[in-house]
């Protein structure tokens, strides 16, 4: 078969949902049940008065799959808005990571030097360890983690991506 190879792209999707039990299971179940992949998923309540939570999903697929994903999300009864930030215009996205590095001597110093370049803060320290907090685009966090590997990286905790459109308008 010589089908044209369809391009696979990464999309960041913002979903506004009722903050009720089971809603996250519905969203996650939709992805696993239909074989879509989730690269990152974050969720938290954003509007206590209206009882709404916002889910940010980073996923990848062909244009047809991404359209399917958005339409399948819109079908869920507690889902109110689905916005594809990647195609709707410029947006900013950030991730926060907490990174534990166990090191002494020269490696310890080097880890601090790199943290400085990445504007990461040390938020916990012992004689043989640091916990760094780094905020930025996924690629930046990836790069920081990679640089810490040879210096004694022992534990990583990442929030996953949160994103928002640039400019004055809400989703």
């Amino acid at each position: 078969m010589n089908k044209p190879v369809e391009e696979i792209n990464r999309h960041t999707i913002a979903v506004l949902v009722d903050n009720e039990s089971g809603v996250l299971a519905r969203v996650v179940g939709l992805f696993s049940g239909r074989g879509y992949n989730i690269e990152s998923l974050t969720v938290a309540e954003v509007d206590p008065r209206e009882n709404l939570s916002r889910i940010t999903i980073v996923t990848s697929g062909t244009a047809m799959i991404i359209e399917q994903i958005k339409n399948q999300l819109r079908r869920l009864v507690p889902v109110h808005k689905v916005h594809d930030l990647t195609i709707e215009g410029p947006h900013v996205s950030r991730e926060l990571a907490l990174i534990k590095v166990n090191a002494t001597g020269e490696k310890r110093v080097e880890s601090l030097r790199i943290a400085d370049i990445f504007r990461a803060r040390a938020i916990d320290s012992t004689n043989e360890s640091f916990v760094f907090e780094v905020v930025g685009a996924t690629e930046k966090v990836d790069a920081f983690v990679k640089l810490m590997e040879p210096l004694g990286l022992t534990d990583v905790s990442r929030t996953g991506v949160v994103a928002i459109a640039r400019g004055p308008n809400p989703i």
Binding site: S21, A25, L76, V77, H80
Partner: protein, 588 residues
């Protein structure tokens, strides 16, 4: 602490059901729902049909819903009662049938404790319901029930489950009438006018068009079916229907090409393959319909009208989508067509019909009749001829008999054909027929069955007898799981692995054991007699017809093949090279 303006949860529930227009509940009791059954006992607004297995309660509610356009209602207990209902819910989800299923649950304080007869039924049914609820507060009960009915019937219909912990139905709380409930769930029904104008323009310019119409038009209701018929006739274009769409357009109209797809007619499939414009109204490009996607209608532009945006561009990319309810959209299409005084390209359409008539002349549904053995196609044709004056409701089980029924029966009215298409659930037909007969007590209701399928819910014979539901079951007994045997013959080298049920019950005696009537035909000349006798009896009847065991369903698009690669019959040479199951990834 009984208070004069509060009600128990059970009372609230029944009041809400009555306010939602429920007349019949299909159900089965158990510990967790006893307070509800106690309330049912005290009233006479709601009738209850006591099934013999919870799966059958759901199929019966499906039959009720599909034949009336109303929401079907089911009530079962927690744990095993709820899990038994799952197959029915999955069936309703696949075929877009509006249902509300009420399940009992252990009291809220025991949830999560592996309590007796506890099952996480909202978790289990999340992927096979349109939506589900766990009610934790009696004061939210009425609101939840009203919203559940709204969700079940709005947009693309589907099953909704409400899980009811026992304490919630025993506690006292406030009732809320439907008028007070504001749901945020509001699917789009009106289609975009710009898109509709564009569609009309494409239709007016088409040279080789075809209407490909599905269950969505049936879902929308009789008005949609009438508008569709009007529009198709205005254009004079050919129209084909999916298995779920049969009845949406009159089967006796010369513009009708028969069903399309794996077991569709030559004229429908060839016209789909060669068309330059496909007008899909309420059909979902199912893989049983499209065959190999690479070879699907390669020369066509496609218009797709559907209420569910996720049906659009799912399997097949289309050129123009119109999202909304097909009745509204068809109405607008007709308006625009008239306002713009559109005309079709008559010359091209005439040439197109000349070509279609050539395909029709193949007479692909013809079969060699026998005067020794009952051919299943002959049996179906005789059922059709002898019952059509009574406009029967026809249900089926799943298998070859289902396909022969779809090919050889003609439906001029919608909502008279009930079959399990998407899930293909053996055991659907008998309980579905039960639900139809409850809704239409005076009508002739027939279940066309296979001897294997019927055994999946045969226990419901007792329900038929208890509730005096005179459903007629015609079993085409070919001794095999015929559809499985057919695939084994054509694709697996004739190795009939476990498709032969060597032992079957004596169906006549079985009918009698249940208190119903049993009849049997073994020769072609006995067929008319048993059909007439079955119609004359005002009780449930099983008619067993011993049919030719070797017959297969043709035409057939083999897995992995395209519409123009049909196998026409046992002598057709193209079957020597069928696609492997892997290519097509289609299941029996």
């Amino acid at each position: 602490m009984a208070h004069h303006d509060t009600l128990t949860g059970a009372e609230i529930l029944l009041k809400a059901l009555v306010d939602q227009g429920v007349e019949v509940i299909f159900g089965y009791p158990g510990g967790a729902v006893l307070p509800i059954y106690d309330e049912l006992f005290k009233q006479n607004r709601l009738r209850h049909v006591l099934v013999r297995h919870e799966q059958a309660a759901v199929h019966a509610a499906e039959g009720y819903a599909r034949s009336t356009g109303k929401v079907g209602c089911v009530l079962v207990t927690s744990g095993p009662g709820a899990t038994n209902a799952v197959t029915g819910l999955a069936d309703a989800q696949c075929d877009s049938v509006p249902l509300v299923c009420l399940t009992g649950q252990v009291p809220t304080h025991l949830i999560g404790n592996d309590a007796f007869q506890e099952a996480d039924i909202t978790g289990i049914t999340r992927p096979c319901t349109k939506h589900n609820y766990l009610v934790k507060d009696v004061n939210l009960l009425a609101k939840t029930v009203h919203e559940a009915f709204h969700v079940a019937r709005s947009g693309r219909p589907g099953p909704v489950l409400i899980d009811l912990p026992k304490d919630v139905i025993q506690n006292r709380g406030e009732y809320m009438p439907p008028s007070k409930v504001k749901s945020k769930y509001k699917p789009q029904v009106k289609g975009d006018l710009k898109a509709i104008e564009k569609a009309v323009d494409m239709i007016a310019h088409a040279k080789r068009p075809i209407f490909y119409v599905g269950g969505g038009v049936i879902n929308s209701g009789p008005a949609a079916c009438q508008l569709l018929t009007q529009f198709v006739r205005m254009t004079g274009f050919p129209c084909t229907l999916t298995l779920m769409g049969l009845g949406a357009f009159p089967g006796s109209d010369p513009l009708f090409l028969g069903m399309l797809g794996m077991h569709g007619t030559v004229e429908a499939n060839m016209a789909m393959h060669d068309c330059d414009l496909m007008i899909n109204i309420g059909a979902r490009f199912d893989d049983r319909v499209t065959g190999k996607l690479d070879g699907f209608a390669p020369k066509s532009k496609k218009i797709h009208v559907d209420i569910d945006p996720s049906s659009i561009n799912k399997n097949v990319a289309v050129d123009l989508a119109v999202v909304g309810d097909c009745a509204h959209i068809l109405e607008d299409m007709i308006k625009v067509w008239k306002a713009k005084q559109c005309r079709t390209d008559e010359k091209a359409i005439k040439t197109w019909w000349t070509q279609i008539e050539k395909w029709r002349d193949v007479n692909c549904l013809a079969f060699e009749n026998s005067n020794r053995l009952i051919k299943p196609q002959y049996a179906i044709q005789r059922i059709y001829e002898l019952t059509r004056h009574r406009n029967p409701y026809i249900c089926t089980e799943v298998g070859q008999h289902q396909m022969w029924a779809a090919q050889h029966l003609r439906f001029d009215l919608p909502h008279h054909w009930l079959t399990s298409g998407g899930l293909g659930t053996m055991g659907y037909g008998l309980p579905a027929a039960m639900g139809v007969q409850m809704a239409h007590p005076e009508s002739l209701v027939i279940d066309i069955a296979g001897e294997s399928s019927i055994q999946m819910n045969i226990q419901e014979m007792a329900t038929l007898v208890q509730h005096r539901l005179p459903v007629k079951i015609v079993i085409l007994n070919n001794q095999y799981m015929g559809m499985v045997r057919q695939w084994q013959e054509l694709i697996h080298g004739g190795r009939y692995s476990e498709s032969h049920m060597i032992h079957h019950p004596d169906f006549v005696k079985l009918a009698e054991a249940f208190g119903a009537v049993g009849l049997r035909a073994e020769k072609p000349e006995e067929v008319d007699g048993v059909i007439k006798e079955m119609m004359a009896v005002d009780r449930p009847v099983i008619v067993e017809m011993r049919t030719d065991a070797s017959e297969n369903v043709f035409p057939m698009i083999m897995p992995g093949m395209a519409h123009n690669e049909m196998v026409l019959g046992p002598e057709d040479k193209s079957r020597d090279n069928p696609g492997s199951e892997q290519d097509g990834m289609v299941l029996v």
